[in-house]
């Protein structure tokens, strides 16, 4: 199995691949960076890999495992990873609960929730940072505990604490 296709990478990407149906917890005008983040989420919800990649620089660096695994570097590698995920994810519900911007960075808190074609339901609460160069994302860092997704794939149900974390209003 390709390193890009191991379970963790898959789950992380899927996690990163979700949708955000805007709802709301905080009223604030949609900013440029947040609009791009939302466009990425909406593209992934359609499993439109190119629709995600169009928002990234060619030299994108994707730290998608809190330092457990090496980063994915470059658009070509990211395309390979996303295409592999799109094949095994049936539906996703990637959404954000909140965000804040500072200069060329947007900080987000959300959940990568998805269902695999084999039926497993996985939800990974996470926090992340997208760093922009101009209008494009040049570095993407996500932080979470990857063992949670492994446990869900092994059939463990979501605990009440995790349910609480992902039951919050979606950002608007």
């Amino acid at each position: 199995m390709s390193p890009l296709l191991d379970r963790r990478t898959l789950l992380v990407a899927a996690a990163g691949a979700l949708t955000a149906s805007p709802a709301l917890s905080q009223e604030k005008p949609m900013s440029r960076l947040y609009a791009t983040q939302m466009a990425i989420i909406e593209a992934w919800r359609r499993q439109d890999v190119e629709g995600v990649l169009v928002h990234l620089t060619d030299d994108i660096v994707w730290h998608n495992s809190s330092g457990l695994n090496p980063a994915i570097r470059g658009k070509a590698a990211m395309r390979t990873a996303l295409q592999a995920m799109a094949k095994v994810i049936k539906t996703n519900k990637w959404r954000l609960f909140d965000y804040a911007e500072n200069g060329d960075r947007i900080f987000v808190e959300g959940v990568d929730e998805f269902w695999l074609t084999t039926g497993e339901h996985v939800a990974i609460p996470y926090a992340g940072v997208l760093q922009f160069r101009g209008a494009l994302v040049s570095e993407w860092r996500e932080y979470f505990d990857g063992r949670i997704s492994a446990a869900m794939k092994a059939g463990q149900p979501m605990g009440p604490e995790l349910q609480d974390l992902i039951s919050r209003p979606t950002a608007k």
Binding site: S65, F107, V129, Y143, D145, R147
Partner: protein, 143 residues
Amino acid sequence: MGRRYAILRQVIQAWQAKDVDRVLAHMHDDIVWHYAAAAQPPVRGKVAARKLLERFQADMHGIEWRIFAHSESGDRLFIEGVDDYRTTDGHRVAAPYAGVLEFDDDLIIGWRDYVDLGVIAEQKTGAPLSAQVETLLDRAVAP
């Protein structure tokens, strides 16, 4: 410097000085603290927070808690940083993480840190920091 970030800096200084009371002074009585969001149940309330801090303190030495980037929105502070310290056994632990702090006025009432406990567990065995962790840590500290 934003108001919330200034408070966090005081918390960091207190923690690095191992002054638990001064850390707790910045927490709300009803704090819900996810010190490893989703991976561990949260600690609820200041009494439980004190116990957790005292437990942490026993095995954390030479603490170099650093924040690389931050942003504020309303009553929330978003941070990206590293919890860097030595265990009593002398092993270096450096866990990259991102977190969100919610404030009630100037007191922290919600705190969620997202980190991979698997990375920490490996480091606690004495394994050297991985190249990917080193990459995440090789950044300037936020002013």
